[in-house]
């Protein structure tokens, strides 16, 4: 992964395709009522602050909203935020602060889980750019496309399973999945560049995201076929 830019504060790249882009709302500390931004910890009274509903997974971890993420930076950010919010470090605090720490630590874990896996990350990123909720209630169910091709593959897999065993069947599926995964990886940098780019690239970005979305769906189906082989054996 080549993206080593640090998490410098830029205006949010979110919701490029939607004009109703909300900035982080400024609020007050729940404890000392001093005015604060989206700091994790109040600068005056050092109490942890609950994440507002606008905080997306990238901003929760303090990372730039991009498809390409340096895994080392991601883990470092995750560990730093865990040290700040994990309930183990708030056992002595007031009940209210413990509740905030618990909620925040849960979101930090969810954010890390989502952004760590490149495919989950890509899926989340698409929703993020489209201006879907910062923290979707549940991962969306993928709709079917390329269904015929996948049905054919399923039949082929079952035939191979019966005649030549799981290893051969898996090999056949991998021959289809591997190139798709490569295509997905390769589109990351291009899309990041388009997001950073000018208004002219908007249509191109829209198209690139649609293609990425299709590939992600297809891969998810194929992965299911693979999983079924492993579970059966």
């Amino acid at each position: 992964m080549s993206d080593t830019k640090t998490a410098e504060k830029k205006p949010s790249q979110a919701n490029l395709l939607h004009p109703d882009n909300r900035e982080h709302s400024h609020s007050v500390c729940w404890n000392c009522e001093k005015k604060i931004g989206d700091e994790d910890v109040c600068p005056s009274c050092v109490r942890v602050q609950p994440f507002g509903p606008e905080r997306d997974y990238y901003s929760i971890l303090g990372l730039p909203a991009r498809l390409t993420l340096d895994p080392r930076l991601l883990v470092a950010a995750y560990h730093e935020k865990s040290r700040t919010f994990h309930p183990d470090h708030h056992v002595e605090d007031s009940e209210k602060e413990q509740t905030i720490a618990l909620g925040n630590a849960s979101l930090v874990n969810l954010a890390f889980r989502t952004l760590r896996d490149p495919f989950l990350r890509a899926h989340y990123f698409i929703g993020h750019v489209k201006g879907e909720p910062a923290r979707p209630n549940r991962k969306a169910v993928l709709s079917s496309s390329d269904l015929m091709e996948i049905m054919d593959l399923k039949e082929e897999r079952d035939a191979l399973l019966a005649s030549q065993g799981p290893a051969v069947a898996e090999q056949r599926l991998r021959a289809v999945i591997d190139p798709i995964e490569q295509e997905i990886y390769h589109s990351f940098e291009e899309i990041d560049a388009l997001v950073d780019g000018s208004e002219d690239g908007r249509e191109k970005l829209s198209k690139a995201l649609a293609t990425l979305s299709e590939r992600l769906e297809k891969r998810a189906y194929l992965q299911n076929l693979l999983k079924e082989i492993r579970e059966a054996s």
Partner: protein
């Protein structure tokens, strides 16, 4: 005095308590006899309830109910304990859906949390005595694979023993904490924890003080005792006569113990003799034959390992080291299989019996706020889901998700004006709801009567850092918050725990101050008895009158103090009396010696004293 949070390993066969000393070292607390382990055994008889070694001695007493391996019953429904009921030698009955041991002597039923509480209270007392201070907070370990109900039951056991359970932590993680601190090395570690009855496997990434569990897997019904049982089963199959004798539980016990002995012996030699004259049984067991008998269990353990590696997306080659925990990892065949599987060095330098309690003490230290440099990121072992249409499980939080974890789900109504929505929460990996464990069923009530599909009820499922679930719900269109009360599908509910606690407090003879007083009084009485006997026996040739008066006054003072309630004062006055009588004791000793040397008989000691 510093507040001390202790770490407790509540084991299937043994339990231990440990704490972190001022100097940073972790120490397992011994009992008065210097023993570190406490057998997790409770004995019920006419003359009282015994715990630990004295309970274990009663194992063949027909008048006593000896309860062991109660951990296997923890948090399970009566139905779920069918397999245990066949092998356990004490009676289990269905008590409000939970298994319970009848205590006919006290006309009550003991549920697994209550049995666990007896063991925990013994450890609490041990720690208080050792540390000379009250101990009321603890970290208790559980197998990583324990589900929500089993964790909750363990927490209840702590509460019943008068302990505030600050954290339930996973045994292999605790073990790694103990090791990780010692080695100071970063890397990815595989931890095998094979105890008497449970097997746990965890993959743990240690990086700059952060202990991140990457995946965990295990089997709550796989342990060293299964190896023993496999050996016994083979003997019975070969020997029909023995098989008939084994209908009796003493014979089964005898065979089980012999199997355990042979299993241990075969880790050092290749062949062992079995001679049991009591049942007329004699045979030879080779290592190869035994290995063949236990192989299915070893395979089962390794398949858990493969699943965990797959969940974490890692290969055996990524693993930097393998840590062995739990008494049964001493078993040679198991060590060989693990070494072959990973091809990595095995760390087994720390006593596998102690390491879990030691790790719990480290976590206790973190939670007492003294160690901000360390942090443990653990995972939930089982997927959490809800039942949807058609009885299908819909997963909300997948297994091996780092905790705390949260999932939000929107619910709505199917009928116009519907004001209740039923939700069924499940834990497990199976597709169909009925195959998973039912954690709770609850009803969201007070939903505003609106057209079908209009209400938006957001339900938050929160797994806390103990791996225990809490549920809250909010109706979004009106903003009303619904209180969700989770009733466990069986077992102790909140009221049961409250009542039992009230009972425990009303019998509050057990609290620290009282116990200190009782102990001090006992000791004081012993010293007084000895002193008074000596005073009767000796004349003014040995004891000057002035000294006699001083001693008599101190005895009087001590007796007065004993009528009060201050245990420490009783102890101080006892020590004062001890000091006063010290010269007398020395003189008596010298006299006895010179008498002995001149061939005279020694005065009879303690003959009149009961």
């Amino acid at each position: 005095m510093n507040r001390i949070v202790v770490g407790i390993d509540l084991g299937t066969t043994h339990s231990l308590v440990a704490y972190r000393r001022e100097d940073g070292q972790v120490e397992v607390v011994p009992d008065r006899q210097g023993r570190l382990l406490l057998p997790s055994v409770v004995a019920l008889s006419k003359d009282g309830v015994r715990v630990g070694w004295s309970a274990r001695e009663k194992v063949n007493d027909p008048e006593t109910t000896v309860i062991y391996a109660a951990k296997r019953l923890m948090g399970r429904s009566f139905e779920e304990t069918e397999a245990e009921r066949r092998s356990l030698t004490y009676p289990l009955v269905d008590h409000k859906g939970s298994p319970a041991v009848p205590d006919p002597f006290r006309n009550r039923f003991l549920t697994p949390p209550e049995i666990g509480a007896l063991v925990l209270r013994d450890l609490k007392n041990r720690a208080e005595e050792f540390l000379s201070q009250e101990v009321s907070e603890a970290v208790i370990t559980v197998p990583a694979y324990f589900n929500d109900a089993q964790r909750q039951a363990t927490k209840d056991a702590g509460a019943l023993a008068g302990l505030k359970v600050l954290r339930i932590i996973n045994e292999p993680t605790a073990a790694a904490l103990a090791y990780g601190l010692g080695s100071g090395k970063d890397g990815l570690f595989a931890i095998f924890d094979l105890g008497g009855g449970t097997f746990d496997f965890s993959l743990l990434d240690i990086r700059k003080g952060i202990f991140e569990v990457r995946a965990t897997n295990g089997d709550t019904h796989l342990g060293g005792e299964d190896f023993d049982r496999a050996i016994v089963a083979a003997w019975l199959e070969e020997n029909p006569k023995l098989s008939a004798l084994a209908e009796r539980s003493e014979v089964r016990d005898l065979l089980r113990k012999e199997a355990e002995r042979v299993k241990i012996a075969l880790s050092h030699k290749t062949e062992a003799e079995v001679v049991l004259p009591a049942v007329g049984f004699r045979t030879t067991l080779t290592r190869a034959r035994m290995n063949a008998l236990v192989e299915p269990y070893v395979d089962r353990a390794l398949s858990c390992v493969r699943a965990a590696l797959a969940d974490a997306g890692t290969a055996t080659s990524d693993v930097d080291g393998v840590i062995l925990v739990g008494g049964s990892t001493r078993f040679l065949r198991f060590k060989e299989a693990v070494a072959a599987f990973f091809g990595k060095p095995l760390f087994d330098s720390v006593d596998p019996d102690l390491v879990v309690a030691e790790g719990a003490a480290v976590q206790a230290d973190i939670l007492s706020g003294r160690r901000k440099d360390l942090l443990l990121l653990d995972v939930t072992p089982l997927s959490l889901g809800i039942e949807t249409i058609g009885g299908v499980t819909s997963t909300l939080i997948p297994r091996n998700t780092t905790i705390p974890a949260q999932a939000k789900e929107l619910f709505t109504t199917y009928v116009d004006g519907q004001t209740n929505v039923d939700i069924h929460v499940l834990q497990g990996e199976r597709e169909m709801a009925k195959d998973n464990r039912s954690l709770a069923r609850f009803t969201l009530s007070g939903v505003p009567p609106l057209p079908a599909g209009t209400p938006r009820i957001e339900v938050t499922f929160q797994i806390d850092a103990n791996g225990i679930l809490e549920v809250t719900a909010r109706e979004q269109t009106t903003g009303t918050m619904s209180n969700v009360v989770i009733q466990p599908s069986y077992g102790l509910d909140k009221d049961d725990v409250r009542n039992l606690l009230k009972e425990a407090f009303s019998h509050a003879q057990e609290d620290f101050a009282t116990r200190l007083l009782v102990d001090a009084k006992t000791e004081a009485q012993t010293v007084i008895n000895a002193t008074e006997r000596a005073l009767e026996r000796v004349g003014s040739d040995i004891l000057p009158d002035a000294d006699r008066v001083a001693i008599q006054n101190q005895v009087k003072l001590l007796k007065t103090t004993m009528e009060g309630t201050d245990g420490r004062k009783v102890r101080d006055e006892t020590q004062a009396l001890d000091r006063l009588t010290q010269p007398l004791a020395e003189r008596l000793m010298n006299q006895s010696l010179s008498n002995a040397l001149s061939g005279m008989a020694l005065p009879q000691e303690g003959g009149s004293h009961a």
